[in-house]
Amino acid sequence: MTNPYVPVLVLMAVAAVLALGGVAASAVIGPKRYNRAKLDAYECGIEPTPHATGGGRLPIKYYLVAMTFIVFDIEVVFLYPWAVDFTTLATFGLVAMLGFLALITVPFVYEWRRGGFDWV
């Protein structure tokens, strides 16, 4: 019997070859016709432009969306394992999760009341 970790190693090697090979192949044989839109940051937040001299305005919406995302992200992160072990955790788990959900609603309420969703 071989070491049980050998298949994992093989899998890692295959993954590395696929990932690196794909990038390398497209770099070598892919067509290169760049334009402004293609060179822009892709799904990576605000436009990477320098600040206007003397400050200026900057779009705040990105940060608000990010904060809202964190609230629900954390919520879901804990909901999944709870759902898997729902039966075992029984009433204790249910009460604990309800408490957690109530607490995580607090920052959401804060954001809503302080105008975090009034964008227009």
């Binding site: 600040h51 003397g54 400050g55 200026g56 305005r57 900057l58 705040i60 072990d85 075992t88 955790l89 029984a90 009433t91 204790f92 607490l103 607090v106 920052p107 309420v109 804060y110 809503w112 009341r113 302080r114």
Partner: protein
């Protein structure tokens, strides 16, 4: 699937102190959401102070239960299946944290006679922009400070009272994240404040990462993150001693893990070589926050350090324990040396206090390195003595301000015109403070004397205890190093006292005559030249000319603003505590003695 899950018993009454503080934080966030602007600040202050006061009462009640009457613990200290473990020692630390947080919150709440608190109207605005002016004129205020304070305090209370390394990490984050945000909220010197927050956050994140990496290594070795554990679930040391650890024999793994955990804790403590953030952050953060942070975080960090170190050094095989002890001794010596030597050449009062706090971390580690019960008692007393002196000293710093002088007035030293600006933190601006505000200066001098460890102040008893603990642990030479370091430290504390009490104020020196001034400027080394530069430091371009053409260019003078009450109360309480603990340390030492009965 979890094989056999049994819900942990939760003793709500025992958790009450922690829950009240964290609950006040949550309610504070809701207050931010629903209470109208006009009464929001008052509501927040009331809520925060009431919660902290209630927590003190709850801790005192709990103390009676847990210490017991006839030498046996009244109630179990293991709560929630061991994730919370409130031993008398932990409870004493929690009490210290909450009392210091209460005093710190009083300083935070004070608006002073200038009518402004220490926090930016909107901390999110880019410094120096019109948006910032707009927010200031609209009278916006950042009352989120109070819930953040509550969360930080709650994190600290949990940090010292857990047997579970993972829970310790969670507590570390709960106490750190609010502090990072609070550091960025200073009303004045916005860029410096934001720089401080960024530095603190980045370095703190690294320290946290190292901490959790260490926990991972310990878990890999022992298969548990509990330190002591109980019969059903043995902790790290029992696994090691019984040879029951999954990776038994690879002791290097657990040593590496413990060292990484220590890095995370020593960072929070501000010990060399993990001290680099301290001066910048202490100087950049709003001064009331600096006071809170310097006092309470240090108590929490040293509490967690003692917990980890004492459990493991005593529990692990002797050779491993000795190695860990050597690490603490080396760090203690480095910390004392750097704190005192670099502190002696500082010219900014906040940076000076920051280096002083580094030096104090060193003295604390001297006590910790003793590894005996005497050490624990010394640590407890030291934390109280250092904490009140620190909160008080930073409280005084918040009241010593710069004020613009209206052009055309000759002097303005006694006038009430002009706008009160930020704190006058340059040491030369503190010259002659004793004449302007004798009581405030006396209190500040008292705090400095206590930090220096002069007899009849709390600091003396504290240092005596710390060095005594080292001697009791057969480290008499380390105690000698400690005494030498405190002698050097006395120099820079006394330097400030002499400056405040016996040196004439900068303005008088400036008026002393053009001839003398020219002479001083020519040599370039005189105090006057330095003072002239500093007192006009607020105008970047004005520089030295400000003194010559006083009638045309606005310049600033040092002024002492009056407290609206809270800060004055905090400073007075700290001063009285410093004196009383110095003259009659008995009762507190007795309490500390009771706290170490059932360690760890």
């Amino acid at each position: 699937m979890i094989p056999d899950f049994t819900a942990p018993l939760i003793d709500w009454a025992a958790l009450a102190p922690l829950l009240v503080v964290l609950g006040a934080g949550v309610v504070g966030v809701l207050v931010e959401a629903f209470v109208p602007d006009a009464v929001r600040r008052a509501t927040q202050i009331t809520l925060a102070l009431a919660a902290l006061a209630a927590t003190v009462v709850l801790i005192v009640l709990r103390w009676g239960l847990i210490v017991g009457s006839d030498g046996a613990p009244g109630v179990s200290d293991v709560l929630v299946g061991g994730t919370v473990m409130v031993t008398p020692f932990a409870l004493a630390l929690q009490g210290t944290i909450v009392v210091l947080a209460f005093l710190g919150a009083l300083v935070v709440a004070d608006r002073t006679s200038s009518g402004q608190d220490a926090f930016a109207p909107t901390a999110a605005a880019v410094p120096g922009t019109s948006y910032e002016d707009l927010a200031r004129r609209a009278g916006l205020q950042q009352t989120e400070v109070y819930p953040l304070l509550m969360f930080a305090t709650g994190g600290m209370m949990l940090f010292v009272a857990t047997d579970d390394l993972l829970m310790m990490f969670v507590a570390l984050e709960v106490l750190s994240l609010p502090l990072y945000v609070l550091c960025a909220t200073a009303r004045r010197r916005r860029l410096l404040s934001q720089e401080a927050a960024a530095k603190y956050f980045l370095l703190g994140a690294f320290a946290s990462a190292l901490f959790i990496f260490g926990v991972a290594l310990i878990y890999g070795f022992a298969g548990t993150v509990r330190l002591i554990g109980d019969e059903d679930k043995p902790g790290v040391i029992r696994r090691v001693l019984s040879g029951d650890a999954p990776l038994d024999g690879m002791t290097v793994l657990v040593v590496a893990g413990i060292l990484l955990v220590l890095v995370g804790l020593l960072f929070k403590l501000g010990a060399v070589p993990f001290h680099a953030w301290t001066p910048d952050v202490y100087a950049g953060a709003p001064t009331p926050i600096t006071g809170f942070m310097a006092a309470c975080t240090k108590v929490a960090a040293v509490g967690a350090l003692v917990k980890v170190l004492y459990t493991l050094v005593v529990g692990l095989p002797p050779e491993v324990g000795e190695q860990l002890r050597t690490v603490v001794i080396v760090v203690a010596i480095l910390t004392m040396a750097l704190g005192t030597v670099v502190g002696a050449v500082q010219t900014d009062i906040k940076r000076l206090l920051a280096y002083s706090s580094i030096a104090h971390a060193g003295f604390l580690l001297v006590a910790v390195a003793g590894i005996n019960l005497e050490s624990l008692r010394a640590v407890l007393f030291y934390m109280v003595a250092y904490g009140v002196a620190t909160v008080g000293a930073f409280g005084v710093v918040t009241l010593v301000r710069e004020r613009t002088v209206v052009p055309g007035r000759a002097d303005g030293a006694d006038g009430e015109d002009g706008v009160v600006l930020g704190e006058a933190t340059h040491l030369s601006q503190w010259a002659g403070l004793g004449r302007r505000a004798p009581w405030l200066t006396a209190a500040f001098a008292l705090f400095l004397l206590s930090m220096a460890g002069i007899p009849l102040t709390a600091g003396f008893v504290a240092k005596f205890g710390a060095f005594g603990a080292a001697v009791a642990g057969d480290l008499w030479w380390l105690a000698v190093v400690g005494v030498l370091a405190s002698v050097v430290a006395v120099f820079f504390y006394v330097r400030v006292i002499v400056l405040m009490m016996f040196t004439p104020p900068a303005e008088e020196q400036l008026l002393a005559g053009a001839e003398a001034r020219a002479q001083e400027a020519a040599t370039g080394t005189g105090d006057e030249a330095e003072a002239a530069e500093a007192s006009s430091g607020a105008e970047p371009a004005g520089g030295g000319v400000a003194t010559e053409t006083r009638t045309e260019v606005a310049r600033t003078v040092v002024t002492v603003v009056g407290s609206r009450g809270p800060a004055a109360v905090a400073i007075a309480v700290c001063a009285v505590a410093t004196l009383v603990l110095g003259v009659f340390p008995g009762p507190v030492l007795e309490l500390a003695g009771e706290a170490i009965k059932f360690v760890p």
